[in-house]
């Protein structure tokens, strides 16, 4: 299996070459920069690919790769003006089909997105899926993501963005206090079945992330937004650090440790007996109990003592509600 790694990389390069040639044919004269922007790659990648294409071809009648059997480019244009012009073509005319697995990846992605309000027209999504199936070289593999109903909140978020107005809603913070928040919506993110709104929170005067299913009584305001996504750099990842963050040491079955990657464990060490010890950064001691109680692998907070005690109290209090 290990010797497949480098060739996997080469197959990606091959896919790029097979995609680039038909596009260059359609664009008789195009700059390297334009091609790089269109394919979302670096200009150096385009130059390397064009140099390779220019010397490639078929063995031909003589089996000697004669000049006429090779692609060719206008070299002066390429070298002096950074412009690509194909002057001789070989074998390839059109874009290749999707592989069965490539089509399956996009189809499953579409299924996941079909709950977005933009895609309310299920017929359009279905026709797109069938186009992908038809454009694949084999039957797409059976991978599917259930279309979940996203909340009506998402439609309101979209409307707020279109109108450029602030959105307000009730939101319970980690301390359990429900407050009316006013937000400039910036981006909708999701992780599997969980959807989040990131926005500028006018109450906190900071960027905040809100779980869509915790948002209650949302409404459009007539106050203009003051922040746009393009004005701010949104950090990647859901958990913005804050000076009040708390480092918590959690012990968990080693097999379950990778499931905590999203919490960006600061430190992972072997605790023996098939257990691992991780240091997680959490915003508030009150969230620790909820976090560890939902984890597999019998997670246990070992430090600081205040966090351990908080979990003990929380769990004991919850368990007491079951005492008959």
């Amino acid at each position: 299996m290990t010797d497949r790694r480098p060739s996997l990389h080469a197959t990606d390069k091959l896919a790029f070459l097979l995609s680039l040639v038909p596009w260059l044919i359609d664009h008789e004269r195009v700059s390297v920069a334009e091609a790089a922007a269109h394919f979302g790659v670096g200009v150096a990648d385009i130059r390397r690919a064009v140099e390779l294409i220019a010397v490639s071809g078929i063995p031909g009648d003589t089996a000697q790769y004669q000049h006429a059997d090779l692609f060719d480019i206008a070299w002066d244009d390429f070298e002096q003006n950074d412009v690509i012009v194909l002057t001789n073509l070989v074998a390839i005319d059109d874009t290749p089909r999707f592989s069965a697995r490539e089509a399956a990846a996009l189809i499953a992605g579409l299924q996941y997105l079909s709950s977005l309000p933009e895609n309310a027209d299920r017929g359009a999504v279905a026709s797109l899926m069938s186009k992908l199936s038809r454009g694949a070289s084999g039957e797409p593999s059976q991978v599917a993501v259930a279309q979940d109903e996203t909340s009506e909140v998402l439609a309101l978020v979209r409307e707020a963005v279109e109108r450029g107005v602030q959105l307000e809603f009730d939101y319970a913070g980690v301390r359990g206090l429900v407050e009316r928040r006013r937000v400039d919506p910036l981006r909708v993110e999701s992780l599997d079945a969980d959807w989040y709104l990131r926005g500028w929170d006018h109450l906190r005067e900071a960027l905040r992330t809100f779980r869509l299913d915790r948002i209650a009584s949302p409404a459009l305001t007539d106050v203009r937004i003051t922040h746009r996504a393009s004005d701010l750099s949104l950090p990647d990842g859901f958990f913005e650090g804050s000076p009040d963050d708390l480092d918590v040491v959690v012990e968990i079955d080693a097999a379950a440790a990778p499931l905590l990657d999203d919490y960006r464990p600061v430190d992972v060490e072997d605790a023996g007996d098939g257990r691992a010890r991780l240091t997680l950064r959490v915003g508030h001691v009150g969230t620790v109990a909820r976090l560890v109680s939902g984890l597999p692998g019998r997670a246990r907070v070992v430090a600081p003592d205040e966090a351990r005690q908080a979990v003990a109290d929380w769990a004991a209090g919850a368990a007491a509600r079951y005492d008959d």
């Binding site: 896919a15 390839i92 089909r97 999707f98 990846a105 996009l106 997105l113 368990a319």
Partner: protein
């Protein structure tokens, strides 16, 4: 021994040259013709000598090219069927090229681009990237959406990739599965027919080859590696990802639990928005689920904000988990583990 050292040809140049050569031939090329004439092979080819290593290289290259969806086919010589040396290889243009009537509008391109970005990990992410390259190849540009979206689906379970491989090959797999509620894992030997994500959890839908019964397994409960066997088991025509999801939806419809949530609490808001939830008086909610053990984990995480009223088994599961959590975090257990004794409960 070759007298002249062959120049190093990059792998992608060899693969690209092979695709070009096979696209340009109608009748097909024999293996010997390919190895002796195509760029990247011919430099290493020894006329009349031992080319075993080069032949193995060609076999791997064929697999890699087919991975990309390129229909590299073999044609038997009609006069000598089954003779491997006379097999011919070619790529038929009509099977290779995207049909001409397939094109994508700027809105469709934008949506497909977003669909490709959904995958964060594994081969699905690499395959999406390649599919998007082909989409770009068609020349279409994407419309810019009004709202910035960053949708993501994880497929990080270690079992995901081997199961997907087995799915594509139509073969049986073996794995140990820790069924929710049981203490020890059990070995399963099943034929996967679909990988589906339902309510945020990945499951593999399988046929048991011996009984022909269909089941779903949570990927997160597969313990240890998945072994992909060579025993083939063709997928029954009606065993599809859609049918698997429909089955899970039916389970979701059928199974209900009754809970009481603290008014205004997070549990109240989130369970209230869960698919199918019916809200009664006194903040009593009837919630739907597909797996009782999974629901127990979810409800435990709401702690004091929710109390399970029915069914009794679910109530007991949640109460036990909370009691374990309380005893695991009682002051004594911390001092034990801090002193390195590691009194591990399991």
């Amino acid at each position: 021994m070759a007298a002249v050292r062959a120049p190093r040809i990059p792998v992608e140049e060899r693969l690209f040259s092979l695709v070009l050569a096979l696209l340009a031939t109608d009748a097909g090329l024999t293996k010997t013709e390919i190895l002796s004439t195509v760029q990247g092979y011919r430099q290493k080819y020894v006329s009349g000598g031992d080319n075993a290593a080069l032949e193995r290289q060609f076999e791997r290259d064929k697999d890699d090219i087919r991975e990309l969806g390129v229909p590299l086919e073999t044609v038997d010589d009609p006069s000598a069927a089954g003779d491997n040396h006379l097999l011919r290889y070619r790529i038929l243009r009509g099977d290779y090229e995207l049909p001409l009537d397939i094109s994508f509008s700027p809105e469709e391109t934008a949506l497909l681009t977003l669909a490709g970005m959904v995958w964060r990990e594994g081969t699905l992410s690499a395959e999406s990237r390649r599919a998007l390259l082909k989409l770009r190849s068609l020349g279409g540009t994407a419309s810019v959406p009004e709202l910035d979206y960053a949708p993501r689906v994880r497929s990080r379970d270690a079992a995901f990739e081997p199961l997907r491989t087995a799915l594509d090959r139509g073969v049986v797999v073996r794995f140990d599965y820790l069924k929710p509620g049981e203490d020890a894992p059990r070995r399963r030997e099943v034929a996967p027919f679909a990988l589906v994500q339902h309510m945020g959890r990945w499951m593999v839908s399988v046929v048991e080859p011996d009984t022909s019964s269909r089941k779903n397994f949570l990927l997160s409960r597969i313990v240890g590696p998945v072994t992909v066997t060579s025993r083939s088991f063709p997928r029954p025509a009606d065993a599809t990802a859609d049918s698997a999801l429909e089955g899970l939806d039916r389970l979701w419809e059928q199974n209900t639990a009754t809970v009481r949530a603290v008014p205004g609490s997070d549990a109240r808001t989130r369970l209230g928005k869960r698919r199918g939830t019916v809200v009664g008086d006194d903040d009593v909610l009837v919630v739907h689920y597909s797996d009782r053990q999974v629901l127990a984990e979810e409800l435990t995480a709401f702690g004091p904000e929710v109390v399970v009223l029915a069914p009794a088994e679910l109530r007991a599961l949640v109460a036990d988990r909370l009691r374990d959590l309380a005893s695991d975090h009682a002051a004594t257990s911390t001092s034990a583990s801090a002193s390195g004794i590691g009194g591990d409960a399991s």
